[in-house]
């Protein structure tokens, strides 16, 4: 069954998730051709509505849409009337009048993409809203893990960092659990919520977390803009306690663990320079897979008038 919008992972059932992950494989295969473009969304328009800065997600969606032959328009928020006080609702009405087919939204407020989805006939994809959800990131993470572990049931993924403010942690742990993966969190006590999803282990000590023997270590980005809030003493301290230092990388290499990070990385904070050359570092795979997964999502969504 097709859907109109993709707003979060928790509303997808396992079958839908498996479908999207399976469908991403033939899209990825296209990247090896000399012509990487297919005509599936020819004549469709995709509008990028990013209220928060983003380079990676933004360009990944743009490449995905263009490889499907859709036309992409950037609604440049910084230079638009939004700065003149136009409300999101008015903006959406404008977009509705433009008869755009897909709207890709990023916003600092949780739930805003869902609100837009209700107001428009266009298919809406959440590209990250506050600390709520980032469903395409979760799909690309799951896809990347499944490439290495085709049957991921019972595999262990350790998510490290600022769990509290991270929509990546939320969406990615939700999808992994739906796929039967064991998830644990590691981070400073102030950044690992005590409440929240059950049967997720919580560690504050790196050694204890490694004793749990994860298969994948997933590093979250330290959000520099939250530095003032004093969740941890300093970046150096963070690197010492939770970062992948040269010594820890040696242990990770010896154990053959995979490393992931949603980007962009802060070198010397979440990880040392040498990680980027580590043979089981999947950060570049994540970038490539992100395009394939986003193509699969665009191809899957259908307007309400067609579904019913």
């Amino acid at each position: 069954m097709a859907r109109k919008d993709l707003l979060d992972i928790s509303s997808l059932d396992r079958e839908e998730i498996e479908h999207l992950l399976d469908q991403s494989i033939p899209f990825k295969e296209l990247f090896t051709r000399s012509v990487k473009k297919v005509p599936a969304l020819k004549g469709k328009s995709v509008l990028m509505l990013f209220y928060e800065p983003s380079t990676r997600t933004h360009s990944s969606f743009e490449v995905a849409a263009k490889r499907l032959s859709a036309d992409v328009t950037n609604f440049d928020v910084a230079h638009s009337s939004i700065t003149k006080g136009e409300s999101v609702r008015e903006t959406v009405e404008t977009l509705q009048a433009m008869r755009t087919d897909y709207i890709i939204v990023r916003h600092g407020r949780s739930g805003l993409p869902g609100m837009i989805a209700k107001q428009t006939k266009a298919c809406v994809i959440n590209a990250g809203d506050g600390a709520h959800a980032h469903p395409t990131q979760a799909l690309l993470d799951a896809f990347t893990i499944k490439e290495k572990f085709p049957d991921p049931v019972g595999k262990k993924v350790l998510i490290v960092g600022d769990i509290l403010h991270s929509r990546v942690a939320r969406s990615t742990s939700t999808i992994l659990k739906k796929l039967g993966v064991d998830v644990a969190y590691l981070g400073p006590g102030s950044l690992v919520p005590r409440s929240g999803p059950e049967n997720i282990r919580r560690f504050t000590d790196y050694k204890e977390a490694m004793a749990w023997s994860p298969d994948v270590v997933y590093l979250l980005r330290v959000q520099m803009e939250r530095q003032d809030a004093q969740y941890f003493p300093s970046l150096r301290e963070y690197h010492k306690l939770y970062g992948i230092t040269d010594a820890r990388l040696a242990e990770i290499r010896q154990r053959g663990l995979y490393l992931m990070h949603p980007g962009p990385v802060n070198r010397g904070v979440e990880l040392c320079d040498a990680v980027m050359d580590y043979e089981r570092c999947l950060i570049n795979d994540q970038v490539e897979n992100g395009i394939a997964v986003r193509m699969a999502v665009l191809y899957w969504l259908k307007p309400e008038s067609i579904i019913s």
Partner: protein
Amino acid sequence: MEQILTAEDIAAGVERLAQAIRAKHSGHPIALVGIRSRGDEVAERVLTLLSEEDWDLAFGVLDISLYRDDFEHLHENPSLQESDIAFPVDGAHIILVDDVLFTGRTIRAALDALSDYGRPAKVELAVLIDRGHREMPIQPDYVGIVLDTRRQDRVDVSLEGCDGKDQVQIVKKEIP
């Protein structure tokens, strides 16, 4: 539902395709490209018959879902499978293979898909069944079986690999 072709009929159709291709191209390098799903199985069978001889034959599989012209009308887009064209398409002599030729739209899509892999020297078309009712100027070079059908009827091809058995049925439909 009426069964109109048996496993023997299908085998004879595949044999006819192989014979005609052999008669025309024996010894010259060609590539068989089957269109998913079932065209790939027909292509595999033809290949098996041909590859008994010392002959440079390549094989590929094409999924044309992304090249269809009817997305607007589908409740759900068709599921994709991987295409697998491992040989260089530039300059190749390709025979596209499908199970049923009907409106010709699938072949139109397949030609578009193929051209995104390169520029073949020549493309021919082999179909197990030609049921008529073209909507595009596309004609086969090799035909296994010609079936006389009405436009509104459905031709259901089952093949061992995809469906567990070889048979062809016609589902008669009346125009309301």
